[in-house]
């Protein structure tokens, strides 16, 4: 079936799942342009007219966390397990909802405030499926996929972020 490679970076991974719906998971160390990724995926894998709903989430690095100013961040991951588990959560989602396509891209390496960290995009005929799958994939990503953030604070000290939260406060 389809298989794509991201040639720009040795850290890049791009795995096209051999399943009933088009999906792509990428872990990249270069800057992430969410809308470019979405546009490219859509034109490459989806057919005009078949989908009516696209729900998208973009996570962006903030310049504050837990009351402190944050000046930088380094994102580490577990190469291999990351891609395997991302494919697993997409597999779960496509059995729970009727989807035309799923795209997940996550950045690793050093980041600055304002940099996009992650995008999740879901295409469906109907809006409920797209919305719910997108939300559920983000929650699954934040609780189960092996990424870790180390923050640099304004006094140049750094610290590992210890846990993700319920989405209301971090």
């Amino acid at each position: 079936m389809h298989s794509t490679q991201n040639a720009e970076s040795p850290e890049s991974k791009n795995n096209r799942l051999d399943k009933e719906i088009p999906s792509s998971v990428k872990v990249i160390s270069e800057p992430l342009d969410p809308w470019q990724e979405i546009t490219t995926f859509q034109s490459e894998y989806l057919t005009q007219g078949e989908f009516g709903a696209t729900a998208t989430f973009v996570g962006t690095m903030r310049d504050f966390n837990e009351g402190d100013d944050v000046t930088g961040m380094t994102l580490e991951h577990y190469p291999g397990m990351t891609e395997k588990q991302l494919q697993e959560i997409i597999h779960e989602a496509q059995h729970q909802w009727t989807l035309n396509g799923v795209l997940i891209v996550h950045r690793v390496g050093p980041l600055l405030p304002g940099d996009p960290i992650v995008i999740v995009a879901c295409w469906s005929a109907h809006r409920a499926d797209a919305f719910e799958a997108c939300r559920q994939l983000m929650e699954a990503l934040k609780s189960r996929i092996p990424f870790w953030k180390k923050e640099t604070l304004s006094d140049e000290s750094d610290r590992w972020v210890e846990k993700n939260t319920d989405g209301y406060t971090s």
Binding site: K142, S143, E162, K163
Partner: protein, 77 residues
């Protein structure tokens, strides 16, 4: 063929260990792998373990050729 052990994030710093191959002798479970690479250091609360890139608990049995990883709670997204 032994067991490949990997540590990530704060666990890598705690054990000062990124990746190491250990012999299978005397090793049955994930907990045995921990003792082999960590010595006397206790396993921090909330430590996550994976065998062959799937989460597993410390009583999970490992075999020669397996990849075993230790890491803290994930914080991506």
């Amino acid at each position: 063929m032994g067991i490949k052990v990997k540590c990530f994030a704060s666990m890598r710093e705690y054990l000062d260990l990124s990746e190491r191959e250990i012999a299978i002798d005397g090793i049955t479970t994930v907990a045995d792998v921990w003792r082999c690479v960590a010595g006397d250091k206790p396993m921090p609360e909330n430590t996550l373990c994976a065998v062959n890139q799937t989460q597993a608990d410390t009583e999970f049995n490992v075999s020669a050729g397996d990849e075993v990883a230790f890491f803290p709670p994930v914080t991506g997204g």
